[in-house]
């Protein structure tokens, strides 16, 4: 096994994704098959290979820090599942 049910439980917490018991079983078996397939990459010696994160050379882009209009509050809140006055509202935190 590449991945256990306990690891799946841990990762689901990291990902903020509730899984039912049935989901956990299926997820473990699917992820195990996929991770086993990914072992293929270990056939390659990559000791001296630089990693690529971007294929096109990109540089940090900066701009003048000028005051500009931002999204109006009512637009920003238009899709909010819950709000109060000018704020997003969430269930209790503690």
């Amino acid at each position: 096994m590449k991945i256990t049910k306990q690891e799946v439980e841990h990762v689901s917490l990291l990902a903020r994704l509730h899984l039912s018991d049935q989901d956990k079983e299926l997820m473990t078996s699917h992820l195990d098959a996929i991770l086993t397939y990914m072992d293929k990459l270990n056939e390659l010696d990559t000791k001296d290979v630089e990693p690529t994160s971007h294929v096109i050379e990109v540089e940090n882009v900066v701009r003048e820090d000028q005051v500009r209009d931002s999204i109006p509050v009512e637009d920003a809140l238009a899709n909010a599942p819950d709000k109060e006055n000018d704020f997003f509202k969430v269930p209790r935190i503690l």
């Binding site: 990762v11 990902a15 994704l17 630089e50 294929v55 269930p91």
Partner: protein, 482 residues
């Protein structure tokens, strides 16, 4: 001929000559949609009054370009101001953006009429459009088959004449594979050629928007409109975009075409290989030089891709937390519970699987073994292409090892579904442009796609090859009977 069958350039000609109006074209398409959409299900949203999507400034007669008045469909992962943008997910099923994606803005500036938003795999994760929360799209050539994915709605809408052209997005083949399966033209431009501003992010280092059209000329016309640097996307590149129609010469004399041996593998459908070999012979007869090349790391592309793409996706999709927009669960006991339940209820199985996989490969203790390793193999795959392009102008392969599979055939076996992307994924990893053009049909009458790949920012070479091929064949004129 019915007006809905016209290409962009044909419709534009007819309008310029005063024989038809944009309104006539729209009426014809509305009629067509009412006849076939129920069976194809290409759209998530069809606009009631699409004419109102036109930019008012585009009505000035003297400035009318080739896209003016042309009805175009847009994949439902590009934001449209005031028009629901769902990504075919329950998570965004009620999301109404307050801004247009840059590509949508550019289409509007060119006088395009946005006809509607097309169906897709949920958050563009899939190869069949079956993972859509809005229901599967069907292949217009055979309603029991998948249209490909994730831009299956866009490809099916073009093939079924439910729009004149469409936009798709391509992270691992999501424009080219459905274009191949639906018998239309689809291009993924070079990474950085087209702005991603307003494209709902899946895997940011791989995503790119591109055209899905009825022929290669339309592909060039649409690419002209959407290309170019955008200050709102820091990865869009400051390279001047040429007039892509200037590549449509019909001439391939002296062009060197590489044929990678690794793309003709055991287990591929014999008719697909035959169609591609026949296409190569035809280009050779027209004066192109055919050369066998090797891309030795091709067999590692899928494993590499599904590590990098899911890692990026797990990070990008962390924003769906039920706070600012989108779905939120009811009756959560506290904030943590709200996050956990919202995401469990808002995402479908494939999206959850990829979030889990991505979170796992990025988690402490596994980062080097998976994520860093995959980034290193990405370098090797990119080097393969650099090597091949030292002696070749373009590379030609099949777009997909098989024609469209049956609905339901692979949906419960994620690994088999991933393996169907085998020929398209490397292009995204290397960031190069690729196009799929129709090149025949299998024994069941399903379309076959020819993939042409080029160097970074050399879309012109692939358009030139694709157009020269298209001039010699009439596959692109074939339409399904619906």
């Amino acid at each position: 001929m019915n007006l809905y069958e016209l290409t962009i350039h044909e419709a534009s000609d007819e309008m310029r000559r005063g024989r038809i109006t944009s309104g006539d074209l729209m009426e014809s398409l509305k009629q067509r949609i009412s006849e076939v959409e129920e069976r194809v299900h290409a759209y998530v949203t069809i606009l009631d009054r699409p004419e109102e999507t036109k930019s008012p400034s585009s009505d000035r007669q003297e400035e009318q370009g080739p896209l003016s008045g042309i009805p175009v469909a847009v994949k439902d992962n590009m934001t449209t101001r005031g028009i629901r943008t769902t990504c075919s997910s329950k998570m965004l099923s009620n999301f109404i953006p307050h801004y247009d994606a840059t590509v949508v803005d550019r289409l509007r500036q060119n006088g395009v009429v946005i006809l509607g938003k097309t169906n897709m795999d949920e958050f563009a994760m899939g190869s069949s459009t079956e993972t859509s929360y809005m229901g599967a799209t069907r292949n217009p050539w055979n309603l029991e088959r998948i249209p490909g994915g994730s831009s299956g709605g866009s490809a099916a809408a073009v093939a079924a004449d439910e729009c004149i052209a469409a936009l798709g997005s391509d992270t691992g083949g999501s424009i080219r594979q459905p274009a191949a399966h639906c018998g239309v033209v689809g291009m993924k431009p070079t990474y950085g050629r087209v702005s991603r501003y307003g494209l709902v992010a899946f895997a940011s280092s791989l995503d790119q928007i591109g055209p899905i059209t009825k022929d290669v000329t339309d592909c060039a016309l649409l690419l002209n409109a959407i290309s170019g640097h955008d200050p709102r996307d820091s990865t869009s590149v400051k390279v001047p975009a040429p007039d892509f129609t200037s590549a449509l010469t019909g001439e391939v004399r002296g062009l060197t075409i590489g044929v990678p041996a690794e793309y003709f593998v055991e287990g591929m459908q014999p008719e697909v290989e035959d169609a591609v070999r026949t296409a190569l012979s035809l280009l050779e007869e027209r004066g192109a030089v055919i050369k066998e090349v090797s891309l030795p790391h091709t067999g590692y592309a899928i494993a590499t891709y599904y590590i990098l793409a899911t890692a990026e996706a797990s990070s990008n999709l962390a924003r769906y937390d039920g706070v600012k927009y989108g779905y939120r669960t009811e009756n959560a006991s506290d904030l943590m519970d709200m996050y956990m339940q919202t995401r469990a209820q808002g995402f479908g199985p494939e999206v959850k699987r990829r979030i889990m996989l991505g979170t796992y490969v990025l988690s402490a203790g596994y980062y080097d073994a998976y994520y860093r390793k995959a980034q290193q193999v990405r370098t090797l795959i990119k080097n393969d292409f650099d090597q091949a392009f030292q002696t070749c102008d373009v590379l030609i392969t099949p777009t997909s090892p098989t024609t469209a599979f049956r609905i339901g055939e692979k949906i419960n076996d994620p690994l088999q579904m991933y393996l169907s992307d085998i020929f398209t994924i490397s292009v995204n990893l290397a960031g190069i442009p690729g196009i799929s053009v129709p090149c025949g049909f299998d024994n069941s009458g399903l379309p076959i796609g020819l993939q042409i790949m080029g160097r970074h920012f050399n879309e012109k070479a692939i358009l030139r090859s694709a157009y020269a091929y298209e001039q010699q064949t009439d596959w692109h004129r074939k339409r399904p009977v619906l």
